[in-house]
Each structure stands twice: as structure tokens, then as C-alpha cells.
């Protein structure tokens, strides 16, 4: 029984870690980034290259996301900024093209082989939790996710930068009127979103393997979590990822055929009757 709970927790943690960046980017600068999956994969690939060249796993866990965040900021300046004022459809199609481009680059640079980020020796082996052997690495993933989320909540709630971000998510015009350089805020938020995606990538690397299509496969689950939790609300995302993680874990095992249909049904119900998400904190335009 403990094993099943831990399994559900782990999938929820992964979903949360990967979708949180997308949530922030939409919540604060109203950009729907279909290339978010590819940035998650970019983080994983950077992590893989570093670890295979002998960089220590933990160092890679810090460096790779920063590199992914840097790429994110450059992309935001080059591509997202010029069309920010345009209708949402254009950002969707542009980021879709971007995801096709990045997935193509993975194939071009790293080839199609399925790779694994080598797990650090300290995290190998299992831990005996009340008679159940649970891999150390998975416990590390749970712990890492909790730290990242707490850090993020602290950043948003406690710091001045966080206050600006939260204000920008409600009334952007007012914030720029108060002399805040919105360009920097959008750039910072997009960068932060990509760093979070990168962290998700490096942590998922040893577990889920690294291959060109990993990003686009996770994108759909990210959107499901986003919608159920309420677009742009962090607490909602935490609750939603728990719900979706449990539904998928139990669903895949017991009624494999229609597990995903239930998840999409949940998404449809939320969209129809609670557009602002479970905790009604979502920011729908």
C-alpha cells in the first residue's frame, strides 16, 4: 500500500516540477508556451552531456537548468517579445514551430539514441521503508520537488521581486505605470520558467531516459495539470498534479485502456464548470 502511495506521489512530483514553469509563464506574462516540453528536454540533454563529460551530477543539476534558462531568455527576446501584443493564436503557432525546431535540433546534435543521465552513486540502491524497498533516487526526486516548490513559493510570497511578479500577473499596465521595466519582468519570468523546466529535465533524466520526443510527450500532461489547477495558480497546480498523478498511476494499472480518457474528462469538466480551476485562483482572460 505504501508503495502505491509513493508511486502516485512520485508521478505527481514529476508532473508538478515540469508544469510549474509553464504555469508561471502563463500566470505572469500570459504567454502560452507550447515549446515548454522542448525546454524541459533541453535541460535533460544539457544534464546528460555534462554528466557524460564527467561533471558531478549535483553540479549538472545546477548548471544545466541555468543554461536552459539562458536559452529561454534568448528565445524570449528574439521570438516571443515581437509578437507579445498580437493575438494569442500567433504565440501558440510560433511556440509550436519553436518546439518542432528544438526537437529537430536534439536529433541533429545528440542523435536519436535513447540516453540515460548516469545516476550518482550516492543515490543508487534502495531504502527499507516499513518493509518496502523504495529506490533512493525516487526519494531524492520527491525531496528535490518539495524544495523547488517551497523555494518558488518563498520567492513569490516573500521577496520584492516576487511581489512585482504577482502584481504583474493581475494588472500589467499598472505595474509598468509604477516604473517597473516590464521587459525585464517578462524576460525574467520566461527565464525562470525555463530554469524550472531544466531542473525537471535533469531530475527526470536518470528516471525517464533522455530522447528527442520526451518533451512533446509530457506537454499534454502539463496542460492537463495546468487546466485542472487553474491557469496561473501555484497552489492549484500542486493540488492538480496530485490529482492527475494519482489518477494516472492508478488508472494505468487498473483500467489501462481508459485511464487517459478519465484524465481528459476531468479536464473537460473543470474547463466547463470551474474555468478558474480547482481553487478558483486561475487567471483566465
Amino acid at each position: 500500500m505504501i508503495q502505491i502511495c509513493l508511486n502516485c506521489l512520485l508521478l505527481s512530483a514529476l508532473l508538478l516540477l515540469i508544469s510549474i514553469g509553464l504555469n508561471i509563464i502563463y500566470g505572469i506574462s500570459r504567454v502560452v508556451n507550447l515549446a515548454h516540453g522542448s525546454l524541459y528536454a533541453l535541460g535533460a540533454y544539457f544534464g546528460y552531456s555534462m554528466v557524460s563529460y564527467g561533471v558531478n551530477f549535483y553540479a549538472a543539476l545546477l548548471l544545466a537548468p541555468l543554461l536552459a534558462g539562458l536559452c529561454g531568455v534568448v528565445l524570449e527576446r528574439l521570438i516571443i517579445e515581437p509578437i507579445r501584443h498580437r493575438d494569442m493564436t500567433y504565440t501558440l503557432i510560433l511556440t509550436y514551430g519553436l518546439s518542432v525546431f528544438i526537437d529537430g535540433m536534439f536529433k541533429f546534435i545528440w542523435s536519436d539514441k535513447v540516453q540515460f543521465i548516469q545516476m550518482p552513486s550516492s543515490l543508487r540502491g534502495t531504502l527499507n521503508l516499513f518493509g518496502v524497498h523504495y529506490p533512493n533516487y525516487r526519494l531524492f526526486v520527491l525531496a528535490a520537488t518539495v524544495c523547488v516548490i517551497l523555494g518558488l513559493l518563498a520567492l513569490l510570497e516573500k521577496t520584492k521581486l516576487g511581489m512585482i511578479m504577482r502584481a504583474a500577473s493581475t494588472i500589467p499596465e499598472m505595474v509598468s505605470a509604477l516604473g517597473v521595466n516590464m521587459k525585464l519582468v517578462h524576460m525574467g519570468v520566461f527565464g525562470l520558467g525555463c530554469v524550472l523546466a531544466g531542473i525537471g529535465g535533469v531530475i527526470a533524466g536518470p528516471l525517464l531516459s533522455v530522447y528527442p520526443m520526451m518533451g512533446s510527450e509530457m506537454l499534454l500532461s502539463c496542460f492537463v495539470v495546468l487546466v485542472i489547477g487553474g491557469l496561473g495558480s501555484l497552489r492549484g497546480a500542486i493540488l492538480a498534479s496530485l490529482l492527475v498523478g494519482t489518477a494516472q498511476t492508478l488508472g494505468f494499472v487498473f483500467l489501462t485502456d481508459f485511464a487517459m480518457v478519465i484524465v481528459y474528462l476531468m479536464m473537460a469538466v473543470i474547463l466547463l464548470f470551474m474555468p478558474k480551476g480547482l481553487l478558483a485562483e486561475g487567471k483566465f482572460d
Binding site: 509550436y96 514551430g97 526537437d103 529537430g104
Partner: protein, 332 residues
């Protein structure tokens, strides 16, 4: 005065499109070999699908991520009927059946979806589209799951007793597809220029103001959705006739993204722009993937550049060229 200008421009547009249709009719005799003929047939089918999404996106202002799902439903209905019920069924049976099933399933999804708008509507189309995709994928006993239904019998094209030809022959397939798509195009064009079309455009332009002039926005959105899905169903039926095999990848999330790309590359709100978008996408993909296995890099780059520098899509090129011609002619 206002009426006169509108009609003159409208008639000139119709003449141009008739000329293009004439060119397409003569095309098979110009083309070197069968492959390009079948490629153009496929472009016309995907053009119809992209046009149906343009009716939704360019005219009613509703974004659907998974529009390919309804093409898939139309295609699968015909494929399942031909495989299990009656392989020799004539097109006068399978065509309406394909459309009927698409309309029913589209209504089921649309009736709920039109309660919302904007991004919520788009996400709902994902939810329902993926549900239909999963059903097709999972109903293994009927649809053979991911193997799809292959080697389907190609129906005869017959008007009553006279058999004009079989879909297996590329020329018949081309002309039948061109005829059906041309009819769909001109009928949709007429509908979009009608008072009903004006209502759809007003909903796109300003949904709240539309309800404040007495339009039942929800009903008209549903009608726009049903028109778009019916056209998508027709393109699905034509696809099965021509290809003779269907598979779930026809209606998955990636296919939905591709149709969206075609419509936007072509240019929204112009109906015929979607055909140019479909032609551009299929050529780009087919041409580049023959040269290098890393075609995704170039395709992604092309989409990014086109979205950034040509927001009105490829259809904008002929329009601008046309304006410059008329301007030169006027000040000569």
C-alpha cells in the same frame, strides 16, 4: 454606393477563383507523373481541412487544437464500414454516413464547448479531441488500434448506373476530389458572404457586442462549429477514398498542430488562403525530408519566420501583389 463597391470586388474575386479552378482542372495533363497528381490530390484534401479550420478560426474566432480529430472520425467511419459491413458499398452510401457520424460526434463535443470561448474553448477541443483519439486507439477489435485499417477497397465513382471510374485510378481520384472540394469551397464562400457569415464575423470581431445586438452567440458559435466539422468530415471521407488506409496518427495531437499550422501559414479569414497553406506545408515537409533526415529543424524554422514576418500568411502575397497591380493600372 456602398453596395456597388462590395459587389464589384466580390465578383472580381469570384472570377479569379474560377480561373484558379480552371487551372487546377487542366493541371493533370501538365503534370509529368502520377506522384505529383496524388500529391496535389492530398494537398486539396488537406486544404479542405485547413479551410474548415479557417471557417472556425478566421471567421468565428474560435481556436480548435484538434480539428484533425473530426477528419479522423469521417475517415474511420468509412474505413470501418468498408472493412466490416459492406466492402462493395457505393460512395452514395458511405459518403453521407461518414458525414452523419462526424456531425453527431461534433455536435456532442460542440454543444458543451460553445459554453466557453477563447483559450478555454481551445483547451476543451484538446480534451474532446484526445477523447475521440483514445477511443479510436482503444477500440482495437474494430479499428485494429494503431495498425489502423489498411488495404481498403477503393469505391467506384458512379452517377446512378454509369460508373465514371474507380478511386484506384489517380485521375478519377483527382477529379472526384477536386469536384467535391470545389463545391465545398464555393458553397462555404457563399455562406461566409451571407448574412449568416456576417454574424459569425461579428462574433469574431467582438463577442460581447454581438450578444448586445441580439445575436444568440452560443447558437451561432455552435452552427459555425458544425459547419467546420462537417467540412472536416468530408475531407476525412475523401482521404479514405484516396489513401485506402487510415491510422490513429491521422487524428492525434500532432496532426491537430499540423492543420493549425497550415491554416495560419495560409492566412486566416480568406478561405482560399488555407489551400496555399496546405500546399506550402506539404511541399516543405515532403521536399525537405527527401533531402535530409533533420527536416524538423527546417520546418520549425520556416514556421517561426513565417509567423514573425508574414502575420497575414502566404495569402497576403497575392493580395498585396494584386493591390499593387490595380494601383498601377489606376494611376496609369
Amino acid at each position: 454606393m456602398e453596395k456597388a463597391i462590395g459587389n464589384k470586388k466580390d465578383r472580381k474575386g469570384l472570377v479569379i477563383q474560377a480561373l484558379v479552378l480552371l487551372a487546377l482542372v487542366l493541371l493533370p495533363f501538365v503534370l509529368g507523373n502520377k506522384f505529383y497528381l496524388r500529391l496535389v490530390t492530398e494537398i486539396i484534401i488537406y486544404g479542405l481541412l485547413a479551410m474548415s479550420l479557417d471557417v472556425l478560426l478566421g471567421f468565428t474566432g474560435l481556436l480548435s487544437f484538434m480539428h484533425a480529430a473530426y477528419m479522423g472520425i469521417g475517415a474511420y467511419t468509412v474505413a470501418v464500414f468498408l472493412s466490416y459491413v459492406d466492402p462493395g458499398a457505393s460512395i452514395w452510401v458511405t459518403f453521407p454516413l461518414g458525414i452523419a457520424v462526424t456531425v453527431v460526434l461534433a455536435f456532442a463535443a460542440g454543444w458543451l464547448q460553445v459554453r466557453t470561448g477563447g483559450f478555454a474553448f481551445a483547451l476543451l477541443t484538446v480534451a474532446f479531441g484526445m477523447m475521440y483519439y483514445t477511443l479510436v486507439w482503444k477500440a482495437r477489435s474494430i479499428t485494429c488500434g494503431d495498425d489502423g485499417l489498411c488495404g481498403l477497397p477503393k469505391p467506384d465513382i458512379s452517377l446512378g448506373p454509369i460508373v465514371l471510374g474507380n478511386m484506384n485510378d489517380s485521375l478519377t481520384a483527382y477529379f472526384f476530389t477536386l469536384a467535391v472540394v470545389a463545391v465545398c469551397f464555393f458553397v462555404t464562400r457563399r455562406i461566409m458572404h451571407s448574412p449568416f457569415g456576417a454574424v459569425l464575423e461579428s462574433i469574431r470581431e467582438n463577442t460581447e457586442r454581438a450578444s448586445f445586438i441580439g445575436i444568440n452567440v452560443r447558437n451561432y458559435k455552435l452552427m459555425g462549429w458544425m459547419l467546420a466539422c462537417t467540412l472536416a468530415g468530408i475531407s476525412g471521407v475523401l482521404f479514405t477514398y484516396m489513401k485506402g488506409s487510415v491510422s490513429p496518427t491521422l487524428m492525434d495531437a500532432r496532426a491537430g498542430g499540423i492543420v493549425l499550422m497550415m491554416t495560419l501559414l495560409g492566412g486566416m479569414g480568406t478561405l482560399w488562403g488555407a489551400f496555399i497553406g496546405a500546399a506550402a506545408y506539404i511541399f516543405l515537409q515532403d521536399f525537405i525530408s527527401a533531402m535530409t533526415e533533420n527536416w524538423m529543424v527546417f520546418l520549425g524554422l520556416a514556421v517561426i519566420l513565417l509567423t514573425l514576418f508574414m502575420p497575414k500568411g502566404l495569402a497576403d502575397l497575392p493580395i498585396r501583389l494584386g493591390q499593387r497591380l490595380t494601383r498601377q493600372r489606376s494611376n496609369l
